[in-house]
Subunit: 344 residues, 2 copies
């Protein structure tokens, strides 16, 4: 009954991890959209050719740092099924050593780091859901391999793994690919999650993500899909409607600790989720990202790695960008009901 | 010389107020945009009629809470030049009293508050820069009037004032309007700024915004425009390229304390800035928002009200949404040079 009420009454909700408040306001879905392009674009887009990520174009990218390829096929030549290369237009560069300036008001540092592109398939698929099960498994296995590689570089502190699908979600290239940005700083979003989770742990002696798993399993209303070791739920206090979190049921702070069979299970669950998202929202643009512990962390009792899948269901405006308060027009419980119907 | 280097080498920069790191990476501007709609839309958009904000349509909006109108013209009838009405599709509603539930993991509360629309002109202008000087002055005077009104309601704690211009910036209606969302919580973005500014004040005994004014006046490289009492600069560590901050030179934490003549001066400076932004970036979508102290605050020594103008110069992607780390492809110094040329 509470869910039915939610479809009527707007509600503030607090993100259990970060403490951020959002507004769930179903009435907002009724407002007229007078302006052209006021709704986010669906994913389907024009995509100019030739594609620099397709086989035969290997010379267009920097030399590969990882590839899954046919036995005997040449490095930086065709014959691969997954390929990781440095980003040709990087946000951070491996050339300089880190070092912050001493002006504490206007602090800056060389944008040292590694910015990599993980090309997830040889065929020019622009829809991740079109990838085979094996290609999905390759992707999640390769994430782990790159994290392990960056763990070995002591000048790096964090590696951010994410995927942009569709122009509305910030993709500039259609060919399915993920990105990894490894930096000498912990990005604010992760630092904030770590700090919040740690202070909660200090008070409760429990991991907030373990608490979420326990409560979501028992509440059931936000469960989208499950597997033996993973739980997929709509976020309790999302930034975009239909946002999902995918959590290991058992506590682990670093993605590197996942076993090959767990990663396969995760990959197949993620594939089901994005397929169900496509069917529910008619192929929206979306991102997914991995939140994991900093590189070389010991096992942290308060943090729990997980994926977030964030579809672009609205255009954030002044309240979001100016005040960090997000408004969603579909309740997470309603979103979970719709998503569940499309899962198989 | 340092500015010339910046146009080549990517750099991490820390927001002096919040401590958030961003990346300034001019090389990113060279990446190919293969996907259609990979660039944000400019502001020019189709705009369906009839417009619910135009004179004669007053019955389409809830009853006005403030209007500047011709002597003797009827309340909720034509004859106004500025009108503030409750939002017909509100994110928060005045019906319920606040109250947070006791489940500390999944906290929620009734989305109590006031969501108002400030219709800034009677003519159907979709470009704020097309408003007259008087209309601009009316707008900034009305912001103050509504803040003072919300100050009187002790169930409200914060009033967020912002403007969305163009669909890409989250506007759904073209007719120039601002919004005010008053809530019983301090939105996270403001809470974070207040806390950061307060801890800096504890260490330095100085307001960080006053420090910024002093340093920007002396550095000069990020100044876009000035007036007797205000300084407009590009943000040192922006979330979007060409982001601007407009700061009173003298310390004051609450917008309510500004005098009528200061508000006129501010309005005319803001008009010059958005006009210059239009010319520099060919009429981008943008937001502006007011950061001011919570309602009924005493004068705070550590906080300093200001406006931020945030044009949509890129499409935030996984690194931004997943890790709260923004990448801009134009340095703030370069942006200031370009903007200065278009100011008059």
């Amino acid at each position: 009954m509470r869910n039915e009420l939610l479809s009527l009454a707007p509600e503030f909700r607090r993100n259990p991890v970060t403490g951020s408040w959002v507004v769930v306001a179903p009435e907002r879905s009724q407002r007229p959209m007078a302006l052209t392009h006021a709704e986010p674009h669906p994913r389907a887009n024009g995509d100019s050719q030739p594609c620099q990520f397709c086989p035969g174009q290997e010379a267009d990218t920097p030399n590969e740092v990882l590839a899954y390829r046919e036995q005997g096929s040449p490095i930086d030549g065709p014959g691969w099924r997954l390929r990781v290369v440095p980003n040709k237009f990087p946000a951070v560069r491996p050339l300089k050593k880190p070092g912050t300036t001493s002006n504490d008001l206007f602090a800056h540092a060389s944008a040292f780091g590694r910015h990599e592109v993980l090309i997830a398939c040889a065929d020019h698929h622009t829809n991740p859901a079109a990838l085979s099960d094996e290609q999905f498994c390759d992707m999640f296995r390769a994430y782990r391999e790159r994290l392990v590689a960056h763990d070995a570089d002591e000048s790096l502190v964090y590696a951010a793994v994410f995927q942009n699908v569709g122009a509305e979600a910030g993709a500039s290239v259609g060919h399915t690919h993920s990105q990894i940005i490894a930096t000498p700083i912990v990005p604010d979003g992760i630092r904030h999650e770590l700090e919040s989770a740690e202070s909660r742990f200090a008070a409760t002696h429990r991991c907030v993500f373990c608490d979420i798993v326990t409560h979501e399993q028992s509440d059931e209303v936000r469960i989208v899909a499950e597997s033996a070791n993973f739980l997929a739920v709509t976020a309790y206090a999302p930034r975009f409607a239909y946002e999902m979190w995918v959590l290991p049921r058992s506590h682990a702070s670093g993605y590197e600790s996942a076993s090959p069979s767990q990663l396969e299970e995760l990959a197949l669950l993620m594939k089901r989720l994005v397929h169900g998202l496509d069917k529910t929202l008619d192929s929206p643009a979306y991102n997914w990202f991995l939140h994991t512990a900093p590189l070389r962390s010991p096992e942290l009792p308060h943090f729990h790695w997980h994926f977030e899948i964030m579809p672009r269901t609205s255009r954030p405006a002044g309240f979001e960008w100016g005040f960090d308060c997000h408004i969603v027009a579909v309740s997470p419980e309603q979103a979970a009901r719709e998503l569940r119907k499309q899962m198989h």
